[in-house]
Structure formats: structure tokens, C-alpha cells
């Protein structure tokens, strides 16, 4: 569990919801806004979102769990996403991913014990002509080899 992010209060969550209510189809923008603020969508947000949109809690949970992006618990301080799609595979992404996970002793979606890094799979970053690709938080990296990955992991503090 991370403690360096602001702890959500009911008022904070409601303010984020209210900020999106003018949109048509506001549920995804609301979930994105909450996740951007808190690093995850806290359980406490579900009934508030449901109430605001006149949905059931099950419906909100159903939407949230459908999409890969939304987290119920916060990730590590840095998220390294390794592309697993075909173009990256053609340039050795499978070996890169396996070695990275083995080095850190993690499975996909796992977080290092010190909370520094979460490793996630991603299916295509649109960097298929400079494969294999990865994304460190919001920053894209192309032609990632073992040395470059070591650098990324070290920088992230794993």
C-alpha cells in the first residue's frame, strides 16, 4: 500500500465526480479523474459514483473491472509497461520481459517489495518501428535491450 499519495476523502472524490458531470457519458472520465488523483479508484468511490450517475454499485464495478486501466489498489511508485504485441515480439520482447520479471522476481502486474516498481504488460504503444518498446510512467522508450531495461529499473529504484 502506498502512503505518499493523498488519502481520498468523500468530499475530494465527490468534487472529482462533479467536475465531469457536464459531459455526455461521464463514467469513464470520472474514473480516469479519480485514478489520476489517487493512483487507483478507491472502493469508497464506487457508491458515490453510482449515486451521482443513478447507477447501481454493481454497474459501476462492472464497468471498472472491464477495463485494464483501472486499479483497485495503487501501483508502485513507478509503472513500467512492457509491450507484448507482435511487432515487439519480432524483436525479442518475450525474452526481454521474461528476463526483467525474473530479475525482479515478479509476475506480470507485480510490484517490487520496496514499492518502487510495478511491471505491467501492454498491447502496443504504437512504437512498432522501434521495437521492443516500453513506457515508464508516461515516458516512452524504444529499442529497449537488456542494458536499457536495467537502467530503467535502476532509475526507478527497484
Amino acid at each position: 500500500m502506498r502512503h505518499d499519495l493523498p488519502q481520498p476523502s468523500v468530499d475530494d472524490i465527490q468534487a472529482l465526480i462533479d467536475g465531469q458531470l457536464h459531459l455526455e457519458g461521464p463514467l469513464l472520465p470520472i474514473l480516469h479523474a479519480i485514478q489520476e488523483e489517487f493512483g487507483h479508484v478507491p472502493e469508497a468511490a464506487i457508491p458515490l459514483v453510482a449515486e451521482s450517475l443513478n447507477l447501481t454499485r454493481a454497474e459501476v464495478h462492472g464497468v471498472m473491472s472491464f477495463y485494464h486501466d483501472f486499479r483497485e489498489v495503487p501501483a508502485g511508485r513507478h509503472v513500467v509497461r512492457i509491450c507484448r504485441a507482435e511487432a515487439c515480439q519480432s524483436m525479442g520482447a518475450n525474452v526481454l520481459a521474461e528476463e526483467t520479471l525474473a530479475k525482479l522476481g515478479l509476475e506480470w502486474h507485480g510490484t517490487t517489495a520496496n514499492g518502487a516498481v510495478t511491471i505491467e504488460p501492454v498491447y502496443c504503444l504504437g512504437l512498432c518501428a522501434c521495437a521492443p518498446a516500453a513506457m515508464v510512467d508516461g515516458r516512452v522508450v524504444g529499442r529497449v535491450d537488456a542494458a536499457k531495461m536495467d537502467e530503467i529499473i535502476a532509475e526507478a529504484g527497484a
Partner: protein, 508 residues
């Protein structure tokens, strides 16, 4: 001194930001005033970061640049190995027909002034003087077909929406470019965002829609930032809003961010997602053109289809239709990716044979080993062996060879590729990304993985079962995810039987 350093994600992924900084420092140290413009990419990803310096003769290209190379631009030694010559004279550039991507990499993506100076908004101004029916006819005459992969005639889709009666209509741009090997949508959104905005505005005028959405995948944070900035600039300049270019007509739009579901690239699933629901596929009919976003008539078009519309209105439908092959009119931005010596975006008229793209334009593999297979059209596209390299790039031509062009991405594999592994991955991907609505896809993909594992273990009967399963998925699935997953699987099994047999023998 005017210097261009791309801000495209591919360039950034290869260090463009650090290069831009090093050039700024170097200029400062030399007391030179340098104006650094962050442009889109020219599409030559293997040369990125590709830096250009404006000279009286034209823009000179330098690449691939590293921060340590910054001094070269100022020393400009005659025999510098990183000096590539005039950008426009490079073979990759000369051999293209850049219509949709004409401005990409040339202008500052967020300068509306430069956009207009390079032909931008001419198409919209022309469309503003036309009736909806005339606009639709122009698109029909151009022969433009959906560039997302389905190849449906864009003008006919627009006409259906135009003729529908409703109090509101929508233009939805499908920017959920999830197919591996494709990045044309990302490139144009990052490099020439106003072309997409202009295309959507023209679609609005044609159909009577006054609001647009761009559904943009969350994996593209750079494109999201550029598109949001561009929409704001266009709105402030009166290109979008209640009075488009002073015409009294209204069209506005917003950017919506996806949440990591591949299936949302399917149009009905995308519409559900836009409405804030699970991205589950809808049965058709009703067509989205009649009951689309929020139950209203909706045009759903791919980024490239919409970004090509301004070109058609700037130069005329006939000009566009004169390019191409058979019923595949105009140009197609081919994205060359994977294990290639020269990867990037190459826009050309339909008709270039696959082999020419792979061997000649891309220069074969990056590893220098022989090309074994090329997957065309993303994770749902077929693997083509060398024996099919004479297939000309066109919708019907690829269909006739048991494949599809999809979003025109080519992923090249060298001879180390394990095609059984790739077939398994296709099924695994379908299982992970299936929306769960229809059984052939939801259950079929899981059984597909298991069946391929049986083949790998040497079970001789499993190949027939896999073929049977693929037929069921193809005919019985609601959308292209389950329906097209058999393309990569069956093409791998059919064209590379050795990869399936070898594992059998190994097991025995």
C-alpha cells in the same frame, strides 16, 4: 538558424528530447540564436531522432542523432556521416505519394497558421459552400474507404447518417489504434492534428452532426496531449464552435480517453465505452449510422479516413480517385514495423506489391536474417509467407489471398520466428481481450490455446480440431475480434506447417 526536432513519440522514445536540449545548449555555447521547432515525424523511424536544419536550398536532414552529435549541425563538416542531405531528396521520401501525411513532419503541429499556409482549411472552406448531399457525393466519388480495416465506402456511411432524422447526430473518430504494427493514427494526431479536426468538421457539415468525439486510447499520452491542445486552438480560432469559420454553422468536438481495452477499437464496443458502459460489442442491426452514440445517428470513422477528407476537398475527388488500384482508390499509409532494417510510415498509392515494401522499401530484416513471415493488418491479420509477396496492396487483392490489409500495418519476422507460438499468441490475445458477449470468441479462444498446446505436445488429431474451431469462430462471432482471430492462426498453420510438425516430432 531554424532547427526541427520531432516531438513524435517514436522520436521521443529514441531520445529526441535529450537531442533537442543538447542542440539548444550547443547553440547557446556558440552564441548562435537557434529556433528549435518541435515538429511531427517524417516517418523514417530508423533515422530518428531525425533533425532538420533549414537552409536556402531546403531542409537538410541529420540522423539518427544523439545528444553527443549536436555539434555536427553547427560544424557542418562536408563528409559528416550523419548528414543525410535534403530531406525531400531522400529515397524514402521521393518514392512516396504523401497526400494524407503531406504536412506531417513539415509543420509545427500546433501552429494553425502553418497549417493554413500548407493548404489546411481549404477543404473546410470549400465544404462550407456546399450542400450536405454535395459533400457526401464528393466523398463517394473519391472512392475513399474506411482505413480502419473494414474498407467500407465512407461516403455511403455518411449518406446514411445524413438521411437519418434525429434531433442530434454525432461524428465519432475511432482513434483506438490497438493493432500491433500500426501507428499511422498516432503519427497524424501528433504531427498534424488539425487535419483530423478539419475532416471531422467536414463530416459534421455533410451529415448535420454538430458534435464530435475522438475516442483515443490511453496508451497514447502524447497524442492525447497534442489533440487536446489542437482542439482548444481550433476552438479559440473559430474553426470549431457555434460559428465554424464565420459560416453560422456549428461543430464542436472533444477528446475522450479509452481505458486499455483492445475490443473498444470495434465500433459498437467503442460506442458503449463512450457512453460509459462496459465495452461490450453490440449486435448489428441497428447500424451505428442509425442508432449509434447515445442512440443517435452516428458516423464512426477511423482517424486516417477522416484526416484524408480535407485532402479530397482541397484537391477534388477526381484527383484522389486517380491514385490507386481497382476499387482501392487513393493512397494508403503503410506502416512498416517489427524486424525491419528500415521501419516507419510509407504513404503510397494502392497497388505496390507486398514484396517491394518488405524487401526494397524496408530493406529486409533488422537482424539481417531471411524474412520468414509478414503479418499484415494487426493481431487479426494473416501471416503471409514469401510465396505471397507478389500480392499488390489493395483490399480485394489481400482478401483474395486469404488475408486483409486492416489498418495497413506490416510486422516482419525473421526465420527465428516460431509460428506455432505466434498462432498460440493470437488465441491467447483473443481470450484476454474478448468482451465476453458471444460464445465462439469467449470460449473458442480459450479452447484455441488449449488445442494449439495439444498440437505442440504432438497430438496428431488436434490440427483438424483447430481448423474446425477456427471455422466456428469465423462464422459465429459477433465482431472481428473472434471472427478474424482465425486469420493469423490458420495462415500460420497452413503456410508454415513445419513449425507445427517439428514440435510434434520433437515430442515424439
Amino acid at each position: 538558424m531554424k532547427i526541427y526536432v520531432p516531438m513524435d513519440s517514436a522520436a521521443k522514445a529514441l531520445g529526441a528530447d535529450a537531442v533537442a536540449e543538447a542542440i539548444r545548449d550547443e547553440a547557446e555555447a556558440r552564441g548562435i540564436t537557434a529556433q528549435i521547432v518541435r515538429n511531427g515525424t517524417r516517418g523514417m523511424v530508423w533515422l530518428e531522432p531525425l533533425v532538420e536544419v533549414e537552409t536556402p536550398e531546403g531542409r537538410m536532414a541529420w540522423g539518427p542523432m544523439t545528444p553527443a552529435d549536436a555539434h555536427r549541425l553547427f560544424d557542418a563538416a562536408e563528409d559528416d556521416p550523419k548528414a543525410l542531405g535534403l530531406t525531400e531528396e531522400l529515397e524514402w521520401m521521393r518514392r512516396q505519394t504523401r497526400l494524407t501525411f503531406a504536412r506531417c513532419g513539415v509543420i509545427d503541429p500546433l501552429s494553425l497558421e502553418e497549417y493554413e499556409a500548407h493548404g489546411g482549411l481549404k477543404g473546410l472552406r470549400r465544404a462550407l459552400a456546399m450542400k450536405g448531399e454535395e459533400i457526401v457525393d464528393e466523398v463517394k466519388y473519391s472512392g475513399l474507404r474506411g482505413r480502419g480495416g473494414a474498407g467500407f465506402p465512407t461516403g455511403i456511411k455518411w449518406d446514411t447518417v445524413r438521411l437519418a432524422h434525429a434531433d442530434r447526430k454525432y461524428i465519432v473518430c475511432n482513434a483506438d489504434e490497438g493493432d500491433s504494427g500500426t501507428f499511422a493514427d498516432r503519427m497524424i494526431m501528433e504531427g498534424d492534428p488539425f487535419s483530423l479536426i478539419e475532416g471531422m468538421a467536414i463530416a459534421g457539415l455533410a451529415t448535420g452532426a454538430t458534435h464530435g468525439f475522438v475516442y483515443l486510447r490511453s496508451e497514447y499520452p502524447d497524442a492525447i496531449a497534442v489533440m487536446n491542445a489542437a482542439v482548444k486552438i481550433a476552438r479559440d480560432a473559430g474553426v470549431l464552435g457555434g460559428d465554424v469559420l464565420g459560416s453560422g454553422r456549428a461543430f464542436d468536438m472533444e477528446i475522450r480517453v479509452g481505458a486499455g481495452a483492445y475490443v473498444c477499437g470495434e465500433e459498437t464496443s467503442l460506442l458503449n465505452s463512450l457512453e460509459g458502459k462496459r465495452g461490450v460489442v453490440r449486435a448489428k442491426p441497428p447500424l451505428p449510422a442509425l442508432e449509434g452514440a447515445f442512440g443517435k445517428p452516428t458516423v464512426v470513422n477511423n482517424v486516417i479516413s477522416l484526416a484524408t477528407v480535407p485532402v479530397i476537398f482541397e484537391h477534388g475527388a477526381q484527383y484522389y480517385a486517380d491514385f490507386g488500384l481497382g476499387r482501392s482508390k487513393g493512397t494508403i499509409p503503410v506502416q512498416i514495423a517489427g524486424n525491419v532494417a528500415r521501419g516507419g510510415l510509407f504513404e503510397t498509392a494502392f497497388g505496390m506489391p507486398l514484396g517491394e515494401l518488405v524487401d526494397d522499401i524496408a530493406g529486409g530484416t533488422a537482424t539481417g536474417r531471411p524474412v520468414k513471415a509478414v503479418q499484415i493488418g494487426g493481431p487479426l491479420g494473416a501471416y503471409f509467407p514469401r510465396s505471397k509477396f507478389d500480392t499488390p496492396f489493395g483490399y480485394e487483392e489481400f482478401d483474395g489471398q486469404g488475408g486483409l490489409i486492416g489498418h495497413a500495418g506490416l510486422v516482419v519476422f525473421d526465420d527465428s520466428a516460431d509460428m506455432l507460438g505466434m498462432a498460440r499468441f493470437a488465441m491467447e490475445f483473443c481470450a484476454v481481450e474478448s468482451c465476453g458477449k458471444c460464445t465462439p470468441c469467449r470460449i473458442g479462444a480459450v479452447r484455441g490455446v488449449e488445442t494449439i498446446d495439444r498440437i505442440a505436445r504432438g497430438d496428431a488429431d488436434a490440427a483438424g480440431l483447430l481448423t474446425d474451431l477456427c471455422e466456428t469462430m469465423k462464422d459465429g462471432s459477433l465482431c472481428a475480434l473472434g471472427g478474424f482471430t482465425p486469420y493469423p492462426v490458420m495462415s500460420a498453420l497452413t503456410h508454415f506447417p513445419d513449425d507445427f510438425a517439428t514440435s510434434k516430432e520433437a515430442a515424439e
